[in-house]
Symmetry: C2
Subunit: 154 residues, 2 copies
DNA sequence: TTGTTACATTGGAATGGTTCTCATCTGTTA
DNA sequence: TAACAGATGAGAACCATTCCAATGTAACAA
């Protein structure tokens, strides 16, 4: 179970988004807020086996889809066949390892400007009314660089 | 069938990447180069029904996966459940309509710098050895803005 | 507090895009 | 031209996700 602070925070988040507060939603959101492991549905189910031993897979899917619709959570594909989820409390993007699938969160000062600029340019050029974006960077994580015997020449 | 110019170009692309030149690969690549419709496997199969009436679905999947591995083609999800493919001859990114799934190519002067900067920052922060990136922007396409009766206030 | 109602949860069945298998075929290279 | 590694094709298999119908429950009002 997540800490009381997290439980209070997530309760407020659900209310702010006018989402009906069910134990399932509350606990799943708290799990996502307090874990940065980019879990799949199965990972979440395993992680909640004590808090919600009887939760249905459909509920987890429904809940996550609802969170995605409300922009609380983003979906990620790392090539392993199933979708990964990430609580999106603060703006960031992801670096994904092309060898092992490891996902890490990345941000830097000025990233928010980069993002805004991309959205602005896109709106101008395409005429789309922009609601969001998704940025990913691919490469070999440090561990896989070693594992594969690749040396960085910098 | 694509034009002779496209057929020559794609032949060279395959050879440059040391890919065995089969009629299937040649024709699929030519299709992707000469269409900017971000097709699914089924779209491609339909589009090639005259050139390759007996092609197997597995072959199209295999071929596209090979092209993706060689960075000739990128995969796109627009939420309709199947993967879309796009020939990646020149750097660009995609704007995807959250209502109808329409995908359009976007680029602008300076985009390449934005991209390089993102990759550089990511390498510094994460330690990943970067090999590529993927950027997408979401919103309502002009048509859906009208269809949904949404007025832009700018 | 209670009743009402719209919405959420569940488990199992159904779906369908993608991968797998393996026999056959074919580019490529020597 | 021979030999072989690799590509193709048809269909079966896979499996993540969605669908469905019955049941349960959060939210709101009286």
């Amino acid at each position: 179970m997540a800490s009381n602070a997290v439980m209070e925070e997530t309760l407020q988040v659900l209310k702010d988004h006018k989402l009906r507060v069910t134990p399932q939603r509350h606990i799943i959101l708290a799990y996502l807020v307090s874990h940065h492991n980019h879990p799949t549905v199965e990972t979440i189910r395993d992680g909640l086996s004590k808090d919600l031993p009887n939760i249905g897979a459909s509920t987890i899917y429904n809940t996550l889809n609802t969170f995605v619709d409300h922009h609380l959570v983003v979906e990620l594909q790392n090539g392993d066949g199933s979708t990964h989820y990430d609580y999106f409390g603060t703006p960031h993007y992801h670096a994904i390892c092309t060898n092992c699938g490891r996902i890490v969160d990345v941000t830097y000062p000025g990233f928010s400007d980069t993002e805004k600029n991309l959205e602005k340019k896109t709106a101008e050029i395409s005429g789309y009314m922009i609601s969001g974006n998704h940025m990913e960077v691919y490469g070999l994580c440090p561990e896989c660089q070693i594992k594969l015997g690749i040396k960085k020449n910098d």
